[in-house]
C-alpha cells in the first residue's frame, strides 16, 4: 500500500490510465522510446520513424519524422531515445553509422537537428545522460563509443573498447559520471565519462555477444545484462570484482532487458530470435517467468516501461509491424498453470517426490506402499516474503525408501562382474551364467540360460537324465524324457508371470504342483512373501535336476557333435515362455508355426494371471529328433525383447553376446545398438569400466565398437617445462628433453606410467611402488610428500 501511494505521488494528479491496445505500423520497428510524461511514444525502424500519442483507448499518430522524397540512410534507425529532461529532443542511431538528433520544436517539416557521421560502422545504441541536457553517448559496431555535446558540432570524447562492436551503452542512473558498455565478445566495461583513455573496469559477463544492459533504477550497484547465451545476469558492481548475484536462463538469446519500475526484483526481457514473447521475471525465481505477454507475432524488438514510476504499463514494438501497450493485469501468469512437482532419486535408490499438498492429501488414506517401505510426508514452510508476488504453494514431500533387497542393484553389479561372455564354449558359458544367476537368487534368469544351452547346443545327452526327472514329476504324462524335462521347465517359467494364483487350467492342473513361482526382478515385491515358500521348494527341485543334467552331460562331451537334434516339444513350450503375454494372437501364430502341433494332442492351458492377461498354450507334439537351432530364433528374439522391456537389458545383451551369430541376424541392428547403449550406460554408471569395455569389445554393432575409439587421447604436459606436450612421442619440443622419465631409474617410461598429481613426478609403476615403500618423499627429490594409494 505504501508503495502504491508513492506511485500516485510520483505521477501527481495526472495518473495514467489505459488498456491493452495496439496499432499497426507500416513497417517493422527496431526500437521504441517514450517521452518523460508518458504521453507519447516514438517508433523507429528501417522504414519507419513516427511519434504516436498514447490516449485512453488507442494510439494516435502524431508526427511522421521520415520526410523527404527519397529518405537517406540516416533515417534507417537501429535505435532511438527520447530525452528524459528535454521533451523536444530525440536521438537516433542509424545503420549507416550516423548519429542524428531531432528537435521537435523546429517549425519546419524536417526536424533533423544535428548529424554526426563520425562512426565508421553501424551505430547500435544511443543514450542521453539522465540529468545532463546536452550529453549524448553512442556505441557502434566499429568498437568505439563517442560522447557528444549537442552544442558542438563534433564529439567531445571517444572511448575505444579495444574490441569489435559495442552493442549497448547505458548511463548509470545514480552515478553522474559512469556508464556501462556491453560488447560482442562477451565483455562489459565501465567507463568514467571524464577519462576517455581507459575503462575503469572490465569483466566477462557472457559467452558470446552481450546484447543489452540496464542499470537498476533504484539500486545503484545493480546492472542487468542479457546475451546471446540466453542468460540474463544481474551484477553487483559495488564490490571490487563485479559479482554475479542473479542469473535467469531464458529459452532464446536476450535482445533487451529493462528493470520494472517500483519493483526491485523484476525485469522485463525480450528475445532476438525464435521466441516472440515478452517476459517479466522475478530474479529470485529464475525458473518460471513472473508474467508473460504473448501478443506479438514476430520477434519483439523494443520494450519500454511507459512511465518511470508506474509498473503497470509496458510498451513494445515488434518486427510484425505492431506497437502494443500491455497492461500488467492482462498478462498471463505461467506460474498459475504450472504444476509444482518434483521427483528425485537418492544415492541409494531412495525416491523423493514433492507435489502440491492438495494433490497428495487426496489419497492420504492410501494403503502404505507395498513392500514395507516407509512413507513419511515432510512439510517445509518457507517464510512468505511479502515483497514476492509469487503464488505460494505448499507442497508435500514424500520420501520412499527402498528396502534393501528389492531395489538395490547389487544383483546387477554382481551379475555384471561374474557373467562370462566369451572365452569358453557356448555350453560352458551358459552353465556358468546360469549358476551365477542362481546364486544371486534369480531363478528365472538362471533357467533361461539353461534353456538357451539346451536349445542351441547338443541335446542328445539330455535324454540320460530323463528317467530321473520323470520320477520326480510323476504326475506328468510321459511322452518321453525330453517332454518331461521341457515341460517342467516351461511351465515353471511361464508361471513366473502368471504368479500361479488364479489359474483356470483345464488339463494340466496337476502341473501346478511342479510349478515354480518366482518373481521377475522388476515386478512388485508385495507378492514375494506370499509365494516365496513354495517357490523355493519347488524350484530347488527343478534346479537339482538341471544340475544332474549337466554333470551327465559333461561326461558326454563327444555327443555334442550332433547338433540340431532338439526334441520337438521343447519348441512350442519355449514359444510360450518367450511369448509376450500381452498378445494373445500369438497363440494362433505359434500353432501355425508348428505343424506338428495341430495334429497332435495340443493342450491349451489358459491362465488368467493377476496383472498380465495371457493365453498360453502348451502343446506336446510328437518327438522329432532333428530340429535346427535357427528354429528357436524367433522365440529367443521375443524373449530378449521381453527382458529388455522388463528393464533387464543386462540379460538381453549378455544373451546376445553369448549367442553371437546364432541370433544376431534375427534382431535388427537398431534394437541391438539400443540395448548395447543402455547396458553400457548402466555399467558406466556403476563404474564397471572393465565390464563395459568388454561388452563394447564383444559387441558386433559398428556403432558400439567404435565407442572404444573415441576420446582415446590423453593430453599431458611436459614434466620439465610444464607446457602441453605436442604429439611427437617422448621428447618435449620446447625443452628438448625426454618428458616421461622415470624418477627412479632415469629411463624413459614406455608403458605403465604412474605419477604424483601433486608434483607431477613419477615413473615406472613398479619402481615408484618400491620407492614409496621405503620413503615418503618424491623420488625426484623435489621434496614433495607423494602418496601411492
Amino acid at each position: 500500500m505504501e508503495k502504491m501511494s508513492r506511485v500516485t505521488t510520483a505521477l501527481g494528479s495526472s495518473a495514467i490510465s489505459g488498456r491493452t491496445m495496439f496499432c499497426h505500423l507500416d513497417a517493422p520497428a527496431n526500437a521504441i522510446s517514450v517521452c518523460r510524461d508518458a504521453t507519447q511514444v516514438v517508433v523507429a525502424g528501417r522504414n519507419i520513424f513516427k511519434i504516436y500519442g498514447l490516449e485512453e483507448e488507442q494510439f494516435v499518430e502524431k508526427l511522421n519524422l521520415r520526410v523527404g522524397r527519397k529518405p537517406s540512410l540516416n533515417f534507417s534507425c537501429a535505435d532511438v531515445m527520447w530525452h528524459q529532461m528535454e521533451e523536444n529532443l530525440l536521438a537516433t542511431a542509424a545503420t549507416n553509422g550516423a548519429v542524428v538528433t531531432w528537435n521537435l520544436g523546429k517549425p519546419s517539416r524536417n526536424k533533423q537537428d544535428q548529424l554526426f557521421t563520425e562512426h565508421k560502422r553501424t551505430v547500435n545504441k544511443v543514450c542521453f545522460h539522465p540529468t545532463e541536457v546536452y550529453m549524448l553517448l553512442s556505441g557502434s559496431q566499429d568498437g568505439y563509443m563517442k560522447c557528444f555535446d549537442l552544442r558542438k558540432k563534433e564529439s567531445v570524447s571517444t572511448f575505444s573498447g579495444q574490441s569489435e562492436s559495442v552493442r549497448d551503452v547505458q548511463f548509470s542512473m545514480k552515478d553522474y559520471f559512469t556508464f556501462a558498455a556491453s560488447f560482442e565478445n562477451g565483455n562489459v566495461q565501465l567507463w568514467d565519462i571524464r577519462r576517455p583513455d581507459r575503462y575503469e573496469r572490465m569483466f566477462t559477463a557472457h559467452t558470446g555477444p552481450v546484447f543489452c544492459c540496464d542499470w537498476h533504477p533504484d539500486d545503484r550497484g545493480w546492472l542487468a545484462t542479457g546475451g546471446r547465451d540466453k542468460m540474463v545476469k544481474v551484477w553487483d558492481m559495488t564490490t571490487n570484482r563485479a559479482k554475479e548475484i542473479y542469473c535467469v536462463q531464458t529459452i532464446a538469446s536476450v535482445a533487451r532487458v529493462k528493470w520494472r519500475p517500483e519493483r526491485k526484483w523484476h525485469l522485463a526481457t525480450c528475445s532476438m530470435m525464435v521466441d516472440h514473447n515478452i517476459y517479466v521475471w522475478d530474479i529470485r525465481r529464475p525458473f518460471i517467468p513472473f508474467a508473460t505477454f504473448e501478443e506479438h507475432k514476430d520477434v519483439t524488438t523494443g520494450i519500454v516501461w511507459r512511465h518511470q514510476h508506474d509498473p503497470y504499463f509496458l510498451l513494445s514494438g515488434s518486427k510484425d509491424s505492431t506497437l502494443y501497450q500491455h497492461m500488467f493485469k492482462d498478462a498471463s501468469r505461467p506460474v498459475d498453470r504450472a504444476n509444482p512437482e518434483g521427483l528425485c532419486f537418492g544415492l541409494f535408490g531412495d525416491l523423493a517426490f514433492a507435489a502440491k499438498e492438495s494433490l497428495i492429501s487426496g489419497d492420504a488414506n492410501r494403503k502404505p506402499y507395498p513392500g514395507g517401505d516407509r512413507r513419511y510426508p515432510i512439510f517445509f514452510f518457507k517464510k512468505p516474503d511479502l515483497t514476492e508476488q509469487f503464488a505460494h504453494v505448499s507442497s508435500a514431500l514424500s520420501v520412499f525408501e527402498s528396502s534393501l533387497e528389492s531395489k538395490r542393484m547389487d544383483w546387477f553389479v554382481k551379475t555384471a562382474r561374474l557373467y562370462l561372455l566369451s572365452g569358453k564354449s557356448f555350453a560352458e558359458l551358459c552353465d556358468h551364467n546360469a549358476k551365477v544367476a542362481k546364486e544371486l537368487n534369480r531363478p528365472q534368469v538362471s533357467t533361461t540360460w539353461t534353456m538357451l544351452r539346451i536349445m542351441f547346443s547338443d541335446p542328445a545327452n539330455l535324454s540320460t537324465p530323463g528317467p530321473n526327472h520323470i520320477g520326480k514329476l510323476g504326475t506328468l504324462p510321459l511322452m518321453n524324457s525330453f517332454s518331461m524335462k521341457e515341460m517342467g521347465m516351461g511351465t515353471e517359467s511361464r508361471l513366473d508371470r502368471s504368479k500361479g494364483e488364479s489359474r483356470q487350467d483345464n488339463i494340466h492342473l496337476e502341473l501346478g504342483n511342479s510349478l515354480i513361482n518366482n518373481i521377475c526382478p522388476t515386478a512388485e515385491n508385495e507378492e514375494t512373501e506370499g509365494s516365496e515358500g513354495q517357490a523355493e521348494y519347488m524350484f530347488g527341485d527343478a534346479e537339482l535336476d538341471d544340475d544332474d543334467l549337466y554333470s551327465m552331460e559333461h561326461d558326454n562331451q563327444a555327443a555334442e557333435e550332433q547338433e540340431y537334434t532338439l526334441p520337438q516339444e521343447a519348441f512350442p513350450l519355449r514359444h510360450e515362455i518367450m511369448d509376450n503375454p500381452l498378445a494373445p494372437e500369438h497363440l494362433q501364430q505359434d500353432k501355425a508355426d508348428s505343424p506338428q502341433a495341430s495334429g497332435n494332442e495340443a493342450e491349451v492351458m489358459c491362465l488368467t494371471p493377476i496383472e498380465s492377461f495371457s493365453l498360453i498354450s502348451i502343446s506336446q507334439p510328437l518327438f522329432s529328433p532333428h530340429l535346427p537351432a535357427p528354429f528357436f530364433c524367433p522365440v529367443v528374439r521375443e524373449m530378449l525383447s521381453h527382458y529388455a522391456e522388463q528393464g533387464d537389458v543386462q540379460m538381453a545383451v549378455s544373451v546376445l553376446i553369448v549367442l553371437g551369430d546364432r541370433i544376431r541376424k534375427e534382431i535388427d541392428d537398431l534394437t541391438q545398438e539400443h540395448w548395447y547403449m543402455s547396458y553400457i550406460d548402466l555399467l558406466q554408471r556403476f563404474e564397471l569400466w572393465n565390464v563395459s569395455n568388454e561388452v563394447i569389445k564383444l559387441s558386433t554393432c559398428s556403432a558400439i565398437t567404435c565407442l572404444n575409439q573415441t576420446s582415446t587421447t590423453l593430453h599431458v604436459n611436459c614434466s620439465n617445462c610444464k607446457r602441453p606436450m605436442s604429439n611427437r612421442g617422448w621428447i618435449c619440443d620446447r625443452c628438448h628433453q625426454c618428458a616421461s622419465v622415470c624418477a627412479v631409474c632415469h629411463h624413459v617410461v614406455k608403458g605403465l606410467f604412474v605419477w604424483c598429481q601433486g608434483c607431477s613426478h613419477g615413473g615406472h609403476l613398479e619402481h615408484v611402488k618400491n620407492w614409496l615403500k621405503s620413503s615418503s618423499h618424491c623420488p625426484a627429490g623435489c621434496g614433495h610428500l607423494c602418496e601411492y594409494t
Binding site: 534507417s76 545503420t95 549507416n96 557521421t117 553501424t122 560482442e184 532476438m272 530470435m273 520477434v299
Partner: protein, 549 residues
Amino acid sequence: MDIQDQDATARWEALGSRDPRSRGTAMEHISQEVMQRVESIGPIPATVPSPVATAGHPTSDLNDILARLLMLSKRCPFDDVRERCVWLLQNVQDFGVRIPRPLGNGPSRFIPEKEILQVSKVDPRTQSIFEDAFAALGRLDNISLVMGFHPQYLESFLRTQHYLLQMDGPLSLHYRHYIGIMAAARHQCSYLVNLHVNDFLQVGGDSKWLNGLDGAPQKLQALGELNKILAHRPWLLTKAHIEHLLKAEEHSWSLAELIHAVVLLTHYHSLASFTFGCGITPEIHSDGGHTFRPPSLSQYCVCDIANGNGHGHLEERRGNHQVSEVSGEVEVLMERMKQLQECRDEEEASQEEMATRFEREKTESMLVATAEDEECVPSRDVSRHFEDPSYGYKDFSRRGEHVPTFRVQDYSWEDHGYSLVNRLYPDVGQLLDEKFQMAYNLTYNTMAMHKDVDTTMLRRAIWNYIHCMFGIRYDDYDYGEINQLLDRSFKVYIKTMVCSPEKTTKRMYESFWRQFQHSEKVHVNLLLMEARMQAELLYALRAITRYMT
C-alpha cells in the same frame, strides 16, 4: 574375406598412429603382403601390354595398393612411412612390376608443389595438424595441404568439417556424405565428388544412389531444389521452399535435419569454390591422380620426372619477368588504402566525388553487363550499391526479377543466424562462428613484400564484395571502396570463383595480384569461401526463420 578386408583396413589405419613402433609393424605387414602378391603374379605384368586395362582381379587389387603406397610416399606426414613406401615401391619395381607415378604437379595446379610441401617442414604446428588429420582420416587430402599455409584456419576448418561429418548430428553418416556429393556436383567439382563417393561407400551407403538423384530416397530428392537454389541464386529462397521440405508427410525433413543439411550444402558449395580457386588436383591414389604408364610414353614426361619442379622453374622465370613489368602494383594498392583511410578521416567524400568515382569504375569495368539504370537514381548510398558491377550478376537482373536487397542489419549471422543454428544443431553455430571470425580476422600484417600493413580494409572490401554479389548489403559500408581496392582482374577472379567456380582457370589465378605470394592468394581464397558460405547460410537461415514465425 571380410576379416581379411578388416585386417587390411586396420593395417592401413595403423599407419596413422603416432607411435613409430606400431607404424613400423603396420608397414612391415603391408610390405609382406605386397611382396607376396607381387611374387605370385610376378612375371605376368611385364608381358601384359596395358596392365590397367586388362588386369584381372589380383592385379587391379595390387594396383590399388600400389597407388595407395605411392600416395603415402608423397603425402604421409610421417617421414618413416614415406621412406618405407618409397623403398617398397622400388622393390616392387625391381621385381618387374610396373609401379604408378603421380600425375600432375602436386596438390594444386596453380601452386608449385615444393612450396606447398615445405610448409609443413617449417612450421611444427602445421605438421602436428597434418598428423592429426592423417590419423583421423588415414589420408591427408590436397585441400588440407594447400590450407596448410594458414594453420590457424586449417585447424578450425578441420574441426568443423569433422564435426559435420563424423560427430553427433541429426543426419546419418551416409546421408551426410551424399549431401556433400550433391552439393559438390552442383559445381561439377569432381575432386570432392570422388572423395565423398569413397567415404559414402565406406560408411555403408547404397551404391545405387550414386547413379543419380533418382536412385536416392525421395527425401534426398526433395533436397535437390534447395541445393540448386542455394548454389546459384540463394536470394530466391523463400519460406515456401522450406515448407515444402518440412511438410512432405513421410518424406519430410525435421528442422534439425534441415539445418544440418543446409550447413553441409553451403559448406560443400563453398569448398567447391576453394577447390577450383586453388586448382586442387585429384588425390594421388584416386583415379586421375596417377598413371601406370611408363614415363617415356607420357607427354608429361619432363615435368613428371621432375615432379612438378620443371613447371615450377618455368613459372618462376615467368614470374620474375612479370615482377619487373608490374612492380609497383602492390605499392599502388597500398597507397590507395592509405588515401582512403585519410580521406575518410577527414570527412565523407562529397557527392560529386562519389559520382566521378563511379563513372570511372563504370567505363573501366567490363563486368557491368546489365546494370539496368534504376528508374531514378536513388539516394547516394543505394545507387552506389546498384551500380556495383557485381550486382549485374547475370542471373540476378537478367530475368528482371525484383529481389529486395538483403540488409545485414536486419538479419546478421552474429545476432540471428548463430542463434538459430545453435538452437537446432548444437555446437555447430559456435564452430561456424569461430571459423568465420578466423577467416575474416586472419592477417599477418603483410602485403607481398611489405610488412606491418593493416589489411583490414582490403579484407573487408573482399568480404563485402562477395556478399554484394549475393545482394547482401551493409548499410555502413562505402561501396566505393571496393572499386578503389579491387582491380578488374581480381574482380573477374572473385566473381568466377564465387558464381561459377568450375570456370576458374590458371590464367585467372595468375593474373590477379601478380606480386603476391601464393600463401596470400590462398588466404584470399579462404576469404572467398567463407564469405560465400555465410551469404548462402544467411539466405537459407532467414527463410527458415520466416517459416518458423
